[in-house]
């Protein structure tokens, strides 16, 4: 058992139960800053938790960070765990983070697709989707990043339940997506929405469903490029920056398209590193370097959001 945040090995991959248990120890270690909220249950009835970093106030302007929406992208939640610890331990030490948390909240969802994550540990390491049943099909699961109400069912998503990019029967049909949607809407004061995927080193902004530029494209591009410059400064990891549609492919029903259309201007998606040898099997000894470089970019975005309130 990894009993405390001090003995926890951040340079290892962990099972869902271990991460959930570690979240409790983080809350116990930083009770005035960190709390854990259950925002609902998954399809297979697993709890879905967010970590809230807050120094007080009520529904302060907030930043959302989710990791692990695609279950096989293990370095994403592993980076999330390291990042959550970093935020908690740097509060009161790092001036800009402290200033941010004195007026804003940060919410982190470390395992956005808990059923899928558990399934990658028990049955199929390469599983990407949720685990919901699809009536009339032998194949299970919906791509939770094609299930948001952002031109749902449009180009770049599959109608085939056996596809890894199946969009599902309707927008927000996946309870995991709906739980996040309901939470974001009920809060009502998110200023930034950051979704963390892996791999291939990209920092993206909306849209994915359309190759048209969003009204804030120029600003998002500038912020993204500055964030990536900081990321790259640590180990030289090279990122591409651009809209989802322009730097990967057209993909409808994605989370940051939805958040942007809800008025959350600073919506970004990361594809964390794999420099080209391992894909989803990124060795555990690269977790901390990945998290450390990613933190520089995340921090830049968060600082920018803090200084440019709207």
């Amino acid at each position: 058992m990894e009993r405390s945040t001090r003995s926890f090995n951040f340079g290892a991959y962990h099972r869902l139960e271990t991460i959930y248990s570690w979240m409790d120890s983080l809350v116990a270690q930083y009770p005035k800053l960190v709390s854990k909220q259950e925002i609902g249950k998954s399809y297979e009835n697993r709890s879905m938790y967010v970590l809230k970093f807050s120094t007080g106030g009520n529904k302060r302007p907030a930043i959302w960070i989710d990791t692990g929406i695609h279950s096989r992208e293990w370095v994403s939640p592993a980076t999330g765990v390291w990042t959550a610890n970093k935020i908690a331990s740097d509060y009161g030490r790092d001036a800009s983070l402290t200033s941010l948390l004195d007026s804003m909240d940060i919410y982190m969802m470390l395992l956005t697709n808990p059923d899928g994550y558990a399934y990658t540990h028990s049955n199929d390491r390469m599983w990407r989707k949720t685990r919901s049943r699809n009536p009339g099909s032998m194949c299970r699961g919906v791509d939770p990043n094609r299930n948001w109400n952002a031109q749902f069912g449009g180009p770049g998503a599959s109608r085939n339940p056996c596809s890894d990019s199946y969009h599902g029967p309707s927008a927000h049909s996946e309870i995991e997506v709906k739980n996040v949607v309901d939470f974001i809407l009920s809060h009502g004061n998110f200023k930034s929405f950051i979704s963390v995927h892996a791999y291939s080193q990209l920092l993206m902004y909306p849209y994915g469903y359309s190759c048209s530029a969003v009204p804030d494209a120029r600003e998002l591009d500038t912020v993204g490029r500055a964030a990536v410059q900081k990321l790259t400064s640590l180990y030289g990891t090279r990122y591409k920056v651009g809209s989802i549609c322009k730097i990967i492919y057209q993909a409808s029903g994605g989370s940051i398209d939805w958040s942007y259309n809800q008025g959350i201007k600073y919506s970004f998606a990361f594809e964390l590193r794999d420099t080209g040898r391992y894909g989803f099997i990124l060795p555990a000894n690269q977790i901390i370097p990945t998290a450390t470089e990613t933190w520089l970019a995340l921090k830049h975005i968060m600082e920018y959001v803090h200084k440019n309130s709207y």
Binding site: A12, Y13, H14, M126, G279, I281, A284
Partner: protein, 93 residues
């Protein structure tokens, strides 16, 4: 528990629009059960495909027939997964 013995992950650095189209056609070959880790979209990004052992010959032939060079990124996926699992067990201990 699913095993990936002999599955390879291949990488293709796409050089032309024709190659992208040939790879996109490959995506629709359902019987080969290919798992596109990175999809064919532009010449700027590589394409990574997990190829089940049973489809290796067919895919190799297809790529050669279309003049598409590739390199093997992961020779045997299961070996990496076994290492990953052993490491996790050790960490848990």
């Amino acid at each position: 528990e699913r095993l990936f013995v002999g599955d390879q992950v291949i990488r293709i650095n796409v050089e032309s629009e024709e190659q992208i189209q040939a790879l996109q056609a490959l995506e629709s070959q359902e019987e080969w059960k290919l798992d596109f880790w990175l999809h064919p979209v532009s010449a700027d990004l590589p394409v990574d495909i997990r190829v089940p052992r049973s489809s290796l010959d067919s895919v190799t032939e297809y790529l050669q027939a279309h003049g598409i060079p590739f390199s093997v990124m992961i020779d045997n996926l299961q070996e990496l997964l076994d290492q990953e699992r052993a490491e996790m067990v050790q960490n848990q201990r």
